[in-house]
């Protein structure tokens, strides 16, 4: 599903974010990216979403070389990739329902699809009762659920999560992880960058550890260390 071949990404001022990184992720896998701040986790997520382009190496997503993708095709790549962030990125002037519906609306899904999909996904994340609320009326955990609902409503092949529990307390984080686990069980490949030792240790999934831009460990059923 995802293949990185000797990928190197250098930011301005010779800041090396990724150095000769190679790794392969199969369809339906759940992968943790771990490592200290600045080790290249977020860069890897941004490369997979084609927000960044590497200086060297190749990246394949769903069998396509995404570096060579012409810019008008990028939106179609992103429709297969859901994204969840530490800061949720919800739109404050839209209700929960509208926030999720927006994701379908802007890729041109017809109204009747939106009307059935959005309540279904909100039901799945356990927020059916808060459809009419605005983001600032929800707790952090609930807001993150909305953002997961938005990322998943289009049933993407891949879900990228950049520290989704970074702003949440441990109990709430467990709830978010259960949700991501459930999404993974539907066959969606999940790649999650995290600092959260407790989560990684309890889930026992594949762990890819980065250190100063290099992959230093790739372990099936691994722990944080």
């Amino acid at each position: 599903m995802i293949t990185l071949e000797n990928v190197t990404k250098v930011y301005k001022g010779d800041v090396v974010a990724l150095k000769d990184a190679s790794c392969e992720i199969q369809k339906g896998e759940f992968v943790f990216l771990v490592g200290p701040s600045g080790s290249g986790k977020s860069t890897m997520i941004r490369l997979l979403n084609r927000e960044e382009v590497p200086q060297a190496g190749k990246i394949f997503v769903a069998g396509k070389d995404i570096n060579g993708l012409s810019s008008w095709k990028i939106p179609y790549l992103r429709r297969n990739i859901g994204c969840v962030f530490q800061d949720y990125k919800l739109l404050p002037n839209k209700t929960i329902y509208e926030n999720v519906a927006f994701a379908l609306e802007v890729i041109g899904r017809p109204k009747h699809v939106i009307k059935t999909q959005v309540p279904a996904i909100l039901e799945l994340v356990g927020l059916a009762k808060k459809q009419r609320n605005y983001p600032d009326e929800l707790s952090g955990g609930e807001q993150q659920r909305v953002s997961i609902a938005r990322a998943f409503v289009n049933r993407p092949l891949i879900l990228l999560a950049d520290e989704p529990t970074g702003n949440l307390d441990p109990a709430t984080s467990v709830g978010i992880m259960r949700l991501l686990d459930r999404i993974n069980r539907t066959g969606t490949t999940v790649v999650m960058a995290t600092h959260d030792r407790g989560i990684v240790d309890s889930m026992r999934r594949r762990v890819v550890e980065l250190d100063r831009g290099s992959i230093v460990r790739d372990q099936v059923r691994g722990v944080y260390e």
């Binding site: 008008w72 939106p75 790549l77 990739i81 990125k89 739109l91 802007v106 890729i107 041109g108 289009n154």
Partner: protein, 297 residues
């Protein structure tokens, strides 16, 4: 990809309302600049109407007798062609003269109905090498007594002065219109930029979930289009009103001197169409540029 009409209309409306102050400023600038462009056109048209025959450096018109023989006409033609003081000359036959008369008097059909092509004298329009008064006078005297010539008219100083002033004014107005037009374009650019900045979070999310660039752009371009439409329609309204006011003042005060400057409604319509097309095209192009330039918010 099918653009959702509902969505586009809603987004465009929100953008326009959110930036209402800037929207009004932009529309007004579009109006003023288009009115100036239109006014320049109307002034030119008015002057052209008043001096249809005195255009393109023509300083001298030699009217032949309506009864002049072909030999006399040919002799005149040869004489003009051989004259070193004459740069070029143009023969205007009866039919052409009638056509011009029709144009000149299209606002007074009763006048037109009283003339026939055969009544009108054929003429030579002469462009001299040097356009100064002395040379023209010499040429005038030279041809006034030739066979078959009825009368020789030369462009007098008044006509020259009016033409020069009108040309100067209309150039000045065109210059002002150009500057204001650029201001309007930059304002449109800026309005769209502000609108996009105000919506940067939406745009970020849209890009993230895979909205195409065109989908993101269209509401902003429509915002520019709406400004262009409002601006040019208002400009046309101002222009039509202004022209009618000018014409009614001419009638009411009986200013015969300026009567020839009146511009017909069909000319105003033509100019209006040009203004609307220019207004809309410029605003769409500039909002499109803005929507592409500032998409990376």
């Amino acid at each position: 990809m099918a653009l959702n009409v509902d969505y586009v209309a809603r987004e465009t409306g929100t953008n326009l309302v959110r930036n209402v102050g800037l929207t009004i400023a932009t529309i007004l600038t579009v109006v003023v600049s288009l009115v100036l462009v239109g006014a320049a056109f109307l002034i030119r048209q008015g002057v052209d109407n008043a001096f249809t025959t005195w255009r393109g450096g023509i300083e001298l018109i030699i009217y032949l007798e309506p009864t002049a023989t072909p030999q006399q006409t040919a002799a005149m033609r040869t004489s003009l062609a051989d004259n070193p003081e004459v740069k070029r000359s143009e023969y205007v036959d009866k039919e052409t003269a009638y056509k011009e008369a029709k144009k000149l008097f299209k606002n007074s059909p009763e006048m037109l109905s009283s003339i026939k092509p055969s009544d009108l004298p054929p003429s030579f329009r002469v462009v001299p090498v040097r356009g100064d008064v002395a040379t023209v006078k010499v040429l005038e005297n030279q041809y006034a007594k030739s066979a078959g010539v009825r009368e020789v008219f030369s462009a007098n100083d008044t006509i020259r002065t009016v033409q020069a002033i009108a040309g100067f004014i209309s150039n000045l107005v065109v210059l002002a219109a150009l500057i204001l037009g650029m201001t309007a374009a930059v304002l449109i650019l800026n309005t769209i930029r502000m609108a996009m900045f105000a919506r940067r979070r939406e745009i970020e999310v849209m890009k993230l979930v895979g909205a195409t660039n065109w989908f993101i752009r269209v509401p902003f371009m429509l915002e520019g289009l709406v400004q262009g439409i409002f601006g040019s329609v208002l400009a046309v309204a101002v222009l039509v009103f202004g022209n009618n006011l000018f014409n009614s003042q001419l009638d009411k005060r009986g200013i015969k001197l300026l009567a020839n400057f009146a511009v017909s409604n069909s000319d105003v319509t033509g100019i209006s169409v040009i203004l609307v097309v220019v207004g809309i095209t410029v605003s769409v192009i500039f909002s499109g540029i803005a929507a592409s330039l500032y998409l990376d918010v």
